[in-house]
């Protein structure tokens, strides 16, 4: 007697494969990959940065990676919304007649279709990652964002200092980064001393600040005691701690190409959710309206990067980190579940497809 799960896989497997194939339509995927390959030949480092001599090879690769992924994801997002909405259009235009007259469960057909189309998008993202990494040249070992701690906007007058105790799991290796700016309105230049102290051990970074920039200080080696970051304004002008950016802990991680893996995973989850949403709307309205509405929902999601369990919400931030030649934090564990929940919920949004 056959296993019901095997029978189900046999029944819906072919439908899944069909949608994998449709997501990989060469008429769309080949031009997209070709465009990425051509764009990877360009130099994406801004002229001013090149002239300043601060454009390290890692930064140049990061900027190229950020640019290529931004273009690719923009195009892929628009296409995914359209692709999802067109699934329901295809169903209405006749495909539903051969699907619904079979002894298949409509909800499983929906899930097999969504999963197949999502898997196809996943394969396309992997192919895009290969093109991006071949174009940028994979890269060298870099650091990964391990943890972040929010900080408040604080103004430090000359001679003043600010202690920021690290809350949570204490960093053992790597570095801490904080964003500072010399305060406008007064002397545009000031000196700053940033210290990271744990027990008796102190690591420090001194620099002259002119405008806004990140300041990084090494984490003291593993010793008992809490870790405190102290910022002291040692210059003559005012200093401000930028609360718009958190205090970040960066630790050594793998090679830069892992950044593309991180984008692929987040984009896959985000695009799957978008696909489900567009399918749901597509059951109620025309393909163009459904694609537009789904894309509008996506825009809303990306405007609040704080809620990292919303698909796509942290992708702009991840691309910015990639642009620095660094690696982002791992994706929120709830993201895949949210994506599945969106797809399942869209089944009810779609309503009666006739």
């Amino acid at each position: 007697m056959s296993n019901p799960r095997d029978a189900s896989r046999e029944r819906y497997g072919e439908l899944f494969s069909l949608w994998v194939r449709r997501s990989l339509d060469p008429a769309w995927t080949l031009p997209l990959l070709g465009l990425l390959a051509v764009l990877s030949l360009a130099d994406w480092t801004p002229t001013a940065l090149r002239a300043s001599g601060m454009a390290t090879p890692s930064l140049r690769r990061g900027l190229e990676r950020e640019a290529l992924w931004s273009v690719a994801l923009l195009l892929l997002t628009v296409w995914t919304a359209w692709h999802g909405a067109r699934i329901m259009w295809r169903w209405r235009e006749g495909e539903w007649s051969w699907i619904a007259s079979r002894p298949a469960t409509a909800f499983r057909v929906w899930i097999a279709t969504w999963a197949g189309a999502s898997a196809g998008l996943g394969l396309l993202l992997v192919a895009m990652a290969v093109v991006v990494e071949v174009g940028t040249g994979l890269g060298a070992p870099t650091v990964r964002l391990a943890d972040s701690q929010p900080v408040d906007d604080t103004r430090l007058e000359p001679g003043q200092s600010l202690d920021i105790p690290w809350i949570g799991k204490p960093p053992m290796t790597g570095s801490l980064r904080v964003f500072l700016r010399s305060s406008p309105g007064g002397d545009p230049t000031t000196d700053v001393l940033v210290e990271a102290q744990r027990g008796e051990l102190v690591r420090q970074a001194k620099l002259r600040l002119d405008g806004r920039r990140p300041v990084e200080v090494e984490v003291p080696p593993d010793t008992p005691g809490p870790l405190v970051v102290t910022i002291t304004n040692t210059g003559g002008g005012a200093l401000a701690l930028d609360g718009g950016q958190p205090l970040d802990w960066w630790k050594p991680a793998g090679s830069e190409w892992r950044g593309s893996c991180s984008v692929v995973w987040r984009a896959l989850i985000g695009l799957s959710a978008l696909l489900g949403l567009a399918m749901g709307f597509g059951g109620r309205m025309g393909a163009v309206s459904a694609a537009g509405l789904a894309a509008a929902c996506l825009l809303v999601a990306t405007t609040d990067p704080v809620v990292s369990w919303i698909p796509f919400a942290d992708l702009p931030g991840v691309l910015t980190i990639l642009g620095e030649g660094r690696l982002p934090m791992g994706a929120h564990l709830l993201l895949p579940l949210v994506s599945v929940a969106v797809a399942v919920g869209s089944w009810w949004t779609a309503g009666k497809v006739q």
Binding site: R11, Y12, L15, R21, W98, I99, S101, P103, Q354
Partner: protein, 291 residues
């Protein structure tokens, strides 16, 4: 609407006060197409659905196939609601258009449709090969469906409809676009299905389809079942007979015409019956081979 049972056996299809239609627009407004159709079709019989365009033939077939939901009334296919997968496992449906996945080859598309029907994979490949050969598509089995002509797609549609040995076969315009050998294939497939006791419902505009295959007809007008019954009874005109004679000379025809007139009748039309298209297609290629 009254119901007429064609045989005393348990019916294969039972419609009671069926009303259904479509929802249109963003607000999903209802547009009713069928208004209270009551009908019953016996197992082993072949029902032809007739009616002008827009009379609800395709909607009725879609509802029987479980593709479309009934707004009111009851639909039973082999005693079960066709919206239930168990009922749909016993029926097959050929849609009016051929909306099969155009990017797949004929054999891959049958794999997909057969898998959704629950035909075991091992059995499926054998059945698909056999049916593709039967409908004359074995040479094109690896070609994508988008390269098929309308008639070839119709043949493919017939192959998918008979893939799972259904007990109820629902065919919407099965001969649209079919060539003469295709008609012959359809005739064979329908004959076999009926021989094993399957119930067939077909919608068509071609009188030849209906006369040749259907033992019962149902006339739909404006979404209402206007009439239904045995084909001969529904189409019969008192005193009118159609004869097809063979082996006569022109003089004999004149004698028959005179005899009919003498008996008080009238020959409404007579013309030499030519070869059928099927006979023409089967002619030997060289004149020497002709009989």
């Amino acid at each position: 609407m009254t119901s007429t049972r064609h045989t005393t056996a348990a019916p294969a299809l039972e419609l009671t006060g069926l009303a259904c239609g479509y929802r249109v627009g963003l607000l999903q407004r209802k547009r009713e197409v069928l208004h209270g159709v009551t009908l019953s079709v016996a197992r082993g019989s072949c029902l032809g659905l007739v009616g002008p365009n827009g009379s609800g033939k395709s909607t009725l077939l879609r509802t029987l196939a479980g593709v479309q939901r009934a707004e009111r009334g009851r639909v039973l296919v082999l005693g079960e609601d066709p919206r239930q997968a168990r009922a749909r496992a016993r029926l097959s449906y050929l849609p009016e258009d051929s909306p099969f996945p155009a990017e797949l080859s004929a054999v891959a598309a049958l794999d997909l449709l057969g898998a959704l029907s629950g035909v075991p994979r091992v059995e499926l490949r054998q059945r698909a090969q056999r049916l593709l050969k039967r409908v004359g598509l074995s040479e094109q089995q690896r070609a994508p469906l988008r390269t098929f002509s309308r008639g070839m797609l119709r043949r493919f549609g017939l192959a998918q409809a008979f893939l799972s040995d259904p007990e109820v076969v629902l065919l919407d315009e099965p001969t649209a676009g079919l060539d003469a050998p295709g008609f012959s294939v359809l005739e064979d497939l329908l004959g076999e299905a009926r021989a094993r006791g399957a119930c067939v419902v077909l919608a068509s505009h071609l009188p030849s389809d209906l006369l040749q295959h259907c033992d019962h007809l149902a006339l739909l007008l404006g979404g209402n079942l206007r009439d239904h019954g045995p084909t001969e009874q529904l189409l019969a005109v008192d005193g009118r007979v159609q004869l097809e004679l063979e082996g006569l000379e022109a003089a004999h025809l004149e004698e028959i015409r005179a005899w009919v007139q003498a008996a008080g009748g009238k020959v409404r039309s007579s013309s030499p019956a030519g070869r059928s298209l099927l006979e023409l297609y089967r002619l030997p290629e060289t004149p020497d081979e002709q009989p």
